[in-house]
Amino acid sequence: MYYLGVDVGSVSTDLVLLNEDKQVIEKLYLRTKGKPIAAIQEGFRVLKNKYDKSEIKAAGTTGSGRQIASTLIGADAVKNEITAHAVAALDTDSEVRTIIEIGGQDSKIIVLKNRIVTDFAMNTVCAAGTGSFLDRQAERLEIPIEDFGEYALKANTSVRIAGRCAVFAESDMIHKQQLGYNEGEIIRGLCEALVRNYLNNVAKGKEIQDKVFFQGGVAANKGMKSAFEEALGIKVAIPEHYNMMGAIGAAIIAKEKVEKAGRTSFKGFDLAESIFLSTSFECEGCSNGCEVVKIQENESVIGCFGDRCGKWGNKLAV
C-alpha cells in the first residue's frame, strides 16, 4: 500500500510514493515548464507502468498548482506548501526548530516549537534570491546548475554582489566579471548576497534556532549551504529528500486524512493518457468580471477555477 504526494511548484513538479512506514519508495523530479497538467501526466506515465490504482491508498497535493493537481488526480488532501514542508520536516526529525525553504519562485522561513508551526514568512513581492534567479545565472555563465555550488566552494575569497534586486544583482555581477574576477569568486559572492537578502528580508525578526533544516531545490547548492552556515554560525542540515519535502508532506497529510475518512478519492493513473484542454474566459455574470479557467478531460469538464461566486467552480454556490 502506498501514499502518493504531488507538489506542483513553479519550477519543478515532484511526485513521491511513501510506504506504510512513510519511507520514500519512489520519487520523481520533473520540470513544470509552465505546464502543470503535462508535468503531472508525464509523472503518471512513469508510475502507471509500475503501480496499480488499487495500491494507492491516499493522494495529496501541494504547491502553487495544488488546486489544479487536485482536480486532475482526485486528491484526498490539498494543503499549502508551508504546512506540507513543516509536516515532512517534523517527520524526518522531530527536533527541527527552523526550516529554511528556497524554491523556484519563493522562499520561506518556518519556525517551529513543540512540533508545531509557530511562525512563518514568505518573500513578498520580490523573487530575488530564489531558485529561478540562480538558474538563470548558471545559464548565463554556462555552468550546469548542478555544479554551481562546487564553484563557490572552490573560491577562497568572495566578491561582494548587491543582493537586494535580482536584476541589479545581475548587472553587478556583469560589472565584476568585466573587471576580471573569476567565476568561482563571483558565484561565492552571489551565494553570500542571496543569504544576506534572505536573512534581511524573509527571515527578518525571526529567531533562527538550532536545529536548522535547509530544503527546497536550492538546497542542492553547496555554496548556499556553506554561506548560510557562515552567516548563522550554526550547522545547517539538509534532509535526504530535500527537494521532495513538499510532496512528502502532502502524502503524509493525505495518509492521515484517509485514515480518518476511510476511503480515497484518487482517480488512478489513467489520466496519463487523457487529453486535457484548458480554456479561459471572462465571466459576464456581474461586474466582477472574473477570469475563469475551465479544464476539460477528454471533452468533459472536470473543474473550473477563478470565479468568486461559485457559479462555475464547485465552491459553495452563494
Binding site: S64, G65, K79, N80, E81, I82, T83, D106, K113, N114, I116, V117, T118, D119, F120, M122, T124, V125, G205, C286, S287, N288, G289, E291, R308, K315, L316, V318
Partner: protein, 365 residues
C-alpha cells in the same frame, strides 16, 4: 450636476440613500474590478499606492456613465492620502476630463464653516429644504451604521453557523437587494430586516471557530477587491472575523476628532508601543492588535498596500507585540498583482498555524 464617488466597501449603499433622499443626480461606478485597476494603473504614477489607482479607475468608469462631479474624503494627515484630491484633480484634468471635486475634510483641518459650505455644494441640485437635507444626512449615517452592522454580524457568525454558507448568502443577498431601495426609509427597513434574519441564523454553539481580527490600512481592509476578498475567503474556511475600521467607524472618528475624544480605547492600548499619531491609521493598527489579543482572538492579519508609509512603521512594531503577547500576526502586502496563489498559501498556512496552536495545549502555556 451628476455626482460620483470612489468605491470603498459599503459606502455606496449609504451614498445612494443620501443622494436619493436629497434628490440629486448621481452615478455609482461599477463595482471595482480588474478593469478599474487596469484603467487606474494606466493613468496613475507608477509608484503610487494601490487605492489611488483603483480610485482613478472608478472615476473614469463613472465619467463614462455621465458623472461630472466627484466627492471624496480628504485628510490633511501625514500620509499620501492627504495629497490624493490634488493629484487626482490634476491627473483627471490632464486626461481632458472637466470635473468638479468636492473634498470632504475633517472639521479639525478646514474648520466647521468650510465643511458646511462644501457639504452645501453637494446639495445644490436638491429641491429639499434645510430640514430635509439634514434629515437625509442623518439617515445616510444611520444606513452606513446599519450596513456595517449587517456585515460585522455576518462575518462574525460565519464561524458558528450550522449550515455552511448561510451568513455569506444573507450578506450578499442583503447587498444586492439594497440597490432596489430607493429612499432612506425603505433602505433602513431593508437593513433592519437582514439584521433580524442574521439574528436567527441557526448556530452551532459547540463550535470553537478560529477568530481573526483584520487590521491595517483603512482602504485596503475595507475595499474587498483590493485585498482579494480576504474576508469572503475566511468565511468560506469557517472563520469568525472582526474588523474595526469601517466606513461607520470613520464617520464617528471624523465627527469626534476635533474634541480629541475619538478612539480613546485604541489610543490607550497602542500607547505602550506607539504613543504618537504618525499618519494614516498606524496607531489604530497597533491598538487593534493589542485589543484583539485581549479580546481572545486567535490571531490578526495586517493588510496594507505596497509603499504605505504609516503601515510600514506598524509592520515593524507588530513582531514585538506578537512576541510579547504570544499572539500570531500575519502581514499581507497588496499591490497590483491579482494572482491569488501565493496570497492564498499564506492565508491557509496562517489558519493552519492558528488551528494547530489551538489544539496544542502546550503552546498555550
Amino acid at each position: 450636476m451628476k455626482i460620483t464617488f470612489p468605491h470603498m466597501g459599503n459606502v455606496y449603499i449609504a451614498a445612494k440613500t443620501l443622494f436619493d433622499d436629497l434628490g440629486v443626480e448621481y452615478v455609482i461606478p461599477p463595482q471595482t474590478s480588474k478593469a478599474s485597476l487596469e484603467l487606474g494603473s494606466l493613468h496613475s504614477p507608477e509608484e503610487m499606492c494601490l487605492p489611488f489607482k483603483i480610485m482613478i479607475g472608478n472615476y473614469i468608469h463613472a465619467i463614462e456613465n455621465g458623472a461630472d462631479t466627484v466627492i471624496i474624503t480628504g485628510s490633511c494627515g501625514p500620509c499620501r492620502f492627504g495629497e490624493y484630491c490634488e493629484l487626482q484633480m490634476n491627473l483627471l484634468n490632464r486626461l481632458g476630463y472637466n470635473l468638479d471635486f468636492i473634498v470632504i475634510d475633517s472639521p479639525g483641518d478646514i474648520g466647521l464653516k468650510e465643511l458646511v459650505t462644501r457639504l452645501g455644494k453637494v446639495s445644490t441640485g436638491s429641491m429639499c429644504n434645510r430640514m430635509d437635507k439634514l434629515k437625509a444626512v442623518l439617515t445616510a449615517v444611520k444606513v452606513v451604521n446599519l450596513i456595517d452592522e449587517v456585515e460585522a454580524k455576518a462575518r462574525y457568525l460565519a464561524g458558528f453557523e450550522a449550515n455552511k454558507g448561510e451568513c455569506k448568502k444573507l450578506l450578499n443577498e442583503c447587498k444586492n437587494k439594497a440597490m432596489d431601495c430607493n429612499n432612506g426609509k425603505t433602505m433602513i427597513e431593508h437593513l433592519k430586516k437582514y439584521i433580524d434574519k442574521l439574528n436567527v441564523v441557526k448556530l452551532d454553539h459547540s463550535k470553537e471557530p478560529i477568530k481573526i481580527s483584520i487590521i491595517g490600512e483603512i482602504y485596503t481592509v475595507i475595499e474587498p477587491f483590493s485585498n482579494l476578498y480576504i474576508e469572503d475567503k475566511l468565511m468560506d474556511y469557517g472563520i469568525s472575523t472582526k474588523r474595526t475600521l469601517t466606513p461607520s467607524w470613520w464617520v464617528k472618528n471624523l465627527v469626534l476628532s476635533p474634541t480629541n475624544m475619538n478612539q480613546l480605547e485604541i489610543k490607550r492600548k497602542a500607547k505602550e508601543y506607539l504613543p504618537y499619531m504618525i499618519g494614516g491609521h498606524a496607531r489604530e493598527c497597533i491598538g487593534e492588535a493589542v485589543l484583539a489579543h485581549e479580546e481572545g482572538f486567535d490571531g490578526a492579519i495586517q493588510i496594507f498596500p505596497m509603499g504605505c508609509m504609516p503601515e510600514i512603521v506598524s509592520k515593524a512594531i507588530l513582531p514585538k507585540i506578537s512576541k510579547d503577547k504570544d499572539f500570531p500576526i500575519l502581514t499581507l502586502v497588496v499591490d497590483e498583482m491579482t494572482g491569488e496563489a501565493g496570497y492564498v498559501t499564506r492565508i491557509e498556512a496562517f489558519v493552519d498555524l492558528l488551528e494547530r496552536r489551538k489544539n496544542h495545549v502546550l503552546s498555550r502555556c
